[in-house]
Subunit: 344 residues, 3 copies
């Protein structure tokens, strides 16, 4: 058979109408082995394509047994443990990486990224906003917004402090998975679907949207917007900004190369190459006119910032005496002129 | 009788001395009907003016019954449910919109705004800081600061993780009410007393103080300071700033009109009209000198930003070649000159 | 005997291997009295130097009794209460202020600062990063990262919402101590080891790292980085930035004197003296070239910002017409020239 794209076996939360609010997959699988695929297909009644299947306790137990016999002891143990829960279990089998069409599918795809099984832009998330319900994330778990006020009153009457921590389509990543080798000082600022590479620290002011992330190692004290990816060794200073595809960045997908430094309170509306620096407090939008300085710090000409998109070894600053935005390069005047003319 | 201004029937938390720390009103009422007013007055022993009245279980049951007979089934059910709680119940009856004089009154007024029954600046909140106690907001509810350390030790001894989430006079809004049609990614950043209009998203970096808010729909990734109101269709970019009446904005009340865009890391110290744009990274204070450009982008003169307060169709930017702050308008040179002279 | 430097008697959390994750000291002691020292030494088996000692219930009870007989009723009561807990108790005795060499020692030192017994830079914290384990801070307390995913699965199976709030070496301060007279709107932004002086408000956008703080009273809506201290009466505007010794500030220790104002979205890479102002939106790095204006607002010369480090009565702004960074002083041209030449 054609290899499957992904399998997720999880438990989740439903509203009073039996609609899924969220699904947790302890061990999401990308490109599962033939043995696992056969075990899951056999136990779940899967037919074809991308399917979401409910499993009762008996089916879960059978699946755990089948996985055990397939030599997948760890996965088998996890699956078998699901029989101990009153929560509804679900199996998602994705034959292909089609756009998500249900809550369980969408949650599986987000968890594939946060488990680092795929990278941002490495999976089809189109239409995911439409798939995901807006949910109240509370100290008593996910609650449907239509049921929230009754739950809040009930909790008060029963002397419980029901904390409503987020009203959002995306939960915080760390309630689903904490990848190895990271620090995330304030987890409310990293959405499920973020990719946080080994060795990365997200400080309190840092933020990472879904389908975005950092290669690692990185020190992130700024905002990684939806769709943005930051290369190894790059640091984002406190409150620094990267324009996202959802919010003003338009069609340009912003990225940051390796070993860059975006200063505190700075920002970028263009992708950066490697070893670039943006001075603290300076915001470079794609339309910013930038004076170019050669390797002797002599003015050579000017360019729109968008024409410098993706280039390496640039230092952006605002001249503190003239107020002009400048870009220091490590190129000679001749090289820079050639590069400028290449755009004409 | 003269119509009442507001009625709140709630339960709350008191400290060891029986002083109120906070009160939760499931259904605060603005301008209650005569029938409701009569039922509440009859059951509570209200005499006149603005009063806060304790209700025992018997009085609550009677009030529920009276409201039921007045045809107010939903409110009656909510009130009757309060008899099931060990928490102390309270009724606040406000004949007039006088400044709040007690914790229950202050909490009622804040909840009227967050329930969207009144808008920011639509109710008298003068002196509210003096009314409100500073409270520890914890995973075990509101705790008086004088009692906190003993509670913390007790929880540790009993192997409970008592989380102290905020030390503030204002709790987070969403523990009291989540208005319809909103997303609030990190609810710790929206104080009770905020007004969050239908269709509004407050992203992780967004913030809304009390007596402030957004008309909706809006995308808010910046800070709406105390007293600031943002019109329909306007977006606040990440970490953008609006000067508040409590913090540097002085006597000018800042507001943002309709369909404005304040860029990421930008800020305003003047109110904006409609369809204004402030470029990412630019902070306009009231004293900023701004060069004015006409509809042909020709320089016409200059003005202090405060003289442009409240005007529509302005685009503020810092010229990236000269460092000068400029304001692009859609007016002719003649129209601009007339406008400038109007200030002389 | 030589007086001891510090004593901590606490309870904490260990991982499955019996290694400390964190320790809570209800009443950390700096320079304890001879009577207390003798009681603790007698009950704990302390020999010499800096030691961490486990205490069983019997030893704790004896210690409580000894402290009671030494006339330390409050401390005795706290210590005696520890016998009621299943958590492991620990005593740390520091003869000297040597760099921390264990988790209990590091936690004691951080709590000494947050209890305001010592100020930032007033205690040896060298090597503390190496001492502290990275921990998952959850709604069920501190959890070892190696044990987290199993705990998360278990909680889901048992229908509990285990919230993973932070993955960090430092917990939030308020779960250990809330010093008197402060407001901290979002406690996730103040690390244990912060010093928050009496009368200080940390608003939602404020942040305070360990070994850093504010003298009080202060209004803090910006970021106090590691090692930074802010003097009495100074305000940090929303999202304002102070460069930390850990992140770009290099060897210069940043501080802010008394009665300064750093505007919203502004930042400093130099220490400020007293009564300085940095305009909203302006970032001063140590290399910024600054035009100097005398007390008549006449240009006198220019300087690197680092040459103005620590000086008082300066106002930094970016001229909105020329884009040049300027520093307004209250000095005459003659005085300024003398000051400039002093650097040559």
């Amino acid at each position: 058979m054609t290899p499957l794209f992904s399998i997720g076996i999880g438990i989740g939360t439903q509203n009073a109408n039996g609609e899924w609010l969220e699904v947790y997959y302890p061990q999401p699988l990308l490109n599962p082995s033939e043995a696992i695929a056969q075990a899951v297909i056999g136990a779940s009644g899967y037919a074809e394509g991308n399917q979401t299947l409910d499993l009762d306790a008996k089916a879960i137990a059978a699946l755990g047994e089948a996985l055990s016999q397939a030599g997948e002891a760890a996965l088998a143990a996890t699956v078998t443990s699901l029989t101990n829960s009153t929560r509804r279990a679900v199996v998602v089998i994705l034959a292909t990486d089609a756009s998500p069409s249900s809550v369980p599918e969408a949650y599986l795809k987000l968890q594939l990224i946060s488990h680092r099984l795929v990278r941002p832009h490495g999976i089809d998330l189109s239409g995911i906003f439409g798939c995901l319900p807006n949910v109240a994330w509370t100290s008593e778990g996910a609650i449907d917004l239509a049921e929230l006020s009754a739950r809040q009153l009930k909790a008060r009457l029963e002397n419980r402090a029901l904390s409503v921590d987020s009203i959002d389509k995306f939960p915080k990543m760390t309630d689903y998975v904490v990848p190895s080798g990271v620090r995330i000082a304030d987890t409310s600022r990293v959405r499920l679907g973020a990719y946080i590479g080994e060795g990365t620290t997200i400080m309190h002011e840092g933020f990472v949207n879904f389908n975005a992330g950092a290669e690692g190692p990185n020190m992130i004290e700024g905002r990684i917007s939806a769709g943005v990816f930051v290369g190894a060794g790059s640091d984002l200073g406190g409150s620094s900004s990267t324009m996202g595809t959802l919010s003003g960045g338009g069609n340009i997908i912003i990225s940051v190369g390796k070993e860059c430094l975006i200063g505190a309170n700075a920002g970028i509306g263009i992708p950066l190459g490697d070893r670039c620096i943006v001075e603290a407090g300076l915001y470079i939008t794609s339309g910013t006119k930038v004076g170019l300085l050669d390797d002797n710090r002599q003015a050579v000409g000017s360019a729109k910032a968008r024409d410098l998109a993706g280039r390496s070894d640039l230092l952006f600053r605002r001249n503190s005496e003239t107020g002009a935005v400048e870009c220091l390069t490590n190129k000679t005047a001749v090289e820079l002129n050639e590069a400028l003319h290449a755009h004409n």
